[in-house]
Symmetry: C3
Subunit: 256 residues, 3 copies
């Protein structure tokens, strides 16, 4: 039998043993799990950034994968802990919209509120549900426990969409969703938004180059291209576009 894959995505960083502790809890229940860190550097409490990064990742994992995601500013409050089944994958985390982007296309086959305490740690803190609720539930799912056993069926959940491009005039306006490690600016614009004559404005910069790969333009040149997520990215060959252009997540991008 294949070993069940578990992905982990959090805003817990790497300074503290939070993620390692969750893995200890999880492996105590499902010792054969194959653990894959997606990222733990989601900016603190940035639910929408976490949602975008999770969405970018799930297509590359096989059926049966359990995705444990914790970006959870409301931990300990009335926000619900949930688990979701979709296309043979499982998602475990807080009900705060963290899974909306990932599941917009995939849909939701079944969602449960994690009410069955016997699949969780005995002592429940009010600040670390990643350890006390989400990790053990993930362990049980990886081990084969059916989703329905973990809690009561939900029919309503928190749904938060990524910002969409819109047309304030006759030109598409998008925005920067994420800045990657290389300083590439990943926007919410896709192929269908691009006019025949390519022209894009971001901050004080006008970009006229639409390329297929970074090395197609001279070093230091600003260039737009469709990145590995299918989104339009603004990059500098051999440089850091976010730094050079002085823009960040949320910056507007005007086409045409």
């Amino acid at each position: 039998m294949n070993r069940p894959i578990v992905t982990l995505l959090t805003d817990f960083g790497s300074r503290d043993p939070f993620v390692g502790i969750m893995k200890g809890v999880l492996l105590s229940i499902s010792p054969e799990a194959q653990l894959v860190d997606l990222t733990h550097e989601v900016p603190p409490h940035a639910v929408m950034a976490g949602a975008f990064l999770l969405k970018s990742s799930i297509d590359y994992f096989p059926k049966g994968t359990v995705h444990l995601a914790v970006v959870d500013p409301g931990v300990g409050s009335t926000r619900k802990p949930i688990a979701i089944q979709s296309k043979g994958h499982y998602f475990v985390g807080p009900d705060n919209g963290l899974f909306s982007a990932a599941l917009k296309e995939w849909g939701i086959d079944r969602a449960v509120e994690l009410t069955e305490r016997k699949y969780q740690l005995v002592d429940l803190s009010s600040t670390f549900h990643g350890r006390d609720i989400f990790a053990p539930v993930t362990g049980h799912l990886a081990k084969g426990t059916p989703l329905a056993k973990l809690g009561k069926k939900m029919n309503h959940w928190v749904w938060r969409e990524m910002p969409k491009p819109f047309k304030p005039s006759n030109r598409w306006m998008g925005e920067v969703l994420w800045v990657d490690r290389f300083g590439n600016l990943i926007t919410n614009l896709e192929k269908k938004h691009i006019p025949e004559t390519f022209r894009l404005r971001i901050g004080k910069t006008v970009v006229l180059n639409l390329a297929t790969h970074y090395a197609e333009v001279k070093r230091g040149t600003v260039v737009a291209l469709f990145g590995s997520t299918g989104h339009l990215e603004i990059s500098i060959n051999g440089g850091n576009a976010a730094q050079k252009l002085g823009v960040a997540i949320g910056a507007s991008v005007l086409l045409g």
Copy 2:
């Protein structure tokens, strides 16, 4: 048979392949080991910070786990390399107090100085015992080699306690043991120290709120609560307490 779990905690950071190299040595001996990084971001040479983080983690791992910990400013000097057995867990690393906090409650069943060279790499550097001594010994423990075979029994070891709260007047004074990724200040104060009327001073700030979770107070408000380790933490809902209050590890905290 379950795969043996090995945790790793070091001050080696993530820039260099130090940790990956240790894993290569370890897996060459115990290919089935399930590796879990606790953290590699212990501040360089900060033995007591490493001790606190290790202590916070071990309760969440099953019997049979081997904990490899290397924060080792004295590498190559006369400090001894050791392995310890406690409650069915194993601990491998330098004899410099790194395991004291973890083993204060658990006790020590047996400790050996790692003198048996055949369980170590043939060539011994004087700067990287993590690779040459601790990783291979960990591999052998994970594979089932009895502790007693790894070296000679010790009866004395280095013991360094975490700083304890004390009473300079009639009020408890504690200190900040650790600052987590979110800027939460984790103190050495526990439930038993808290007076009926809660009041706490740290730096120039007076904290009157004792909450059960972050979201219980308004965004931006300073709050004290018992965190996931059972210690009193000082936090800012949605903010970074260490930055806002301008305090760091070692800062004094006065109750009452």
Copy 3:
């Protein structure tokens, strides 16, 4: 049967799920693989730094290990994707010199250009060959697919050597190849270059101490020693040599 070990070394950092996505692709093909991160903090596009770190690591892994390395400024251009067999290990990545340092001593038994599209993802992006080509090929190698099936045999490849010490006068001049997490300056000087009376100049600093371990000198003292890679390193006991001496990768080091 032992689980095949796969090491990963990239300049992808830990902010983005790039590495996690590669692991998803890889494990979809070879679910039993044992994954080991060497480092993902190679400075962006720094092929030679990546080459040095890979070289420092491979001796500590067993035969059969597959090394996936991606530092790839030319992704999407005419640079070739390759896989190499050497001493029972496999190397997968871009043909840009990233493997030269590692294979200088080991030699190359066989190299192929990764032309067989059926061992790669169906859709090929022009910016993320780590995901689309290198990860699936690595998965197939880990699963036991012979190298020869993955593409056509190569007889010429890009070869980039590390900078070597030279003698501008009658004294050896070397350079700093890497600065590790502790600020230790790792040079390209080895035992054979060291004169009987040790004396070394770096920046404005003269170093007269040649020690065997850090703690041999007083805290705060600059010291030279042969580090865990066999290279001469310049360190400060309990301090950060790179910061204190104000030098970085590429700095000159004069002996004698």
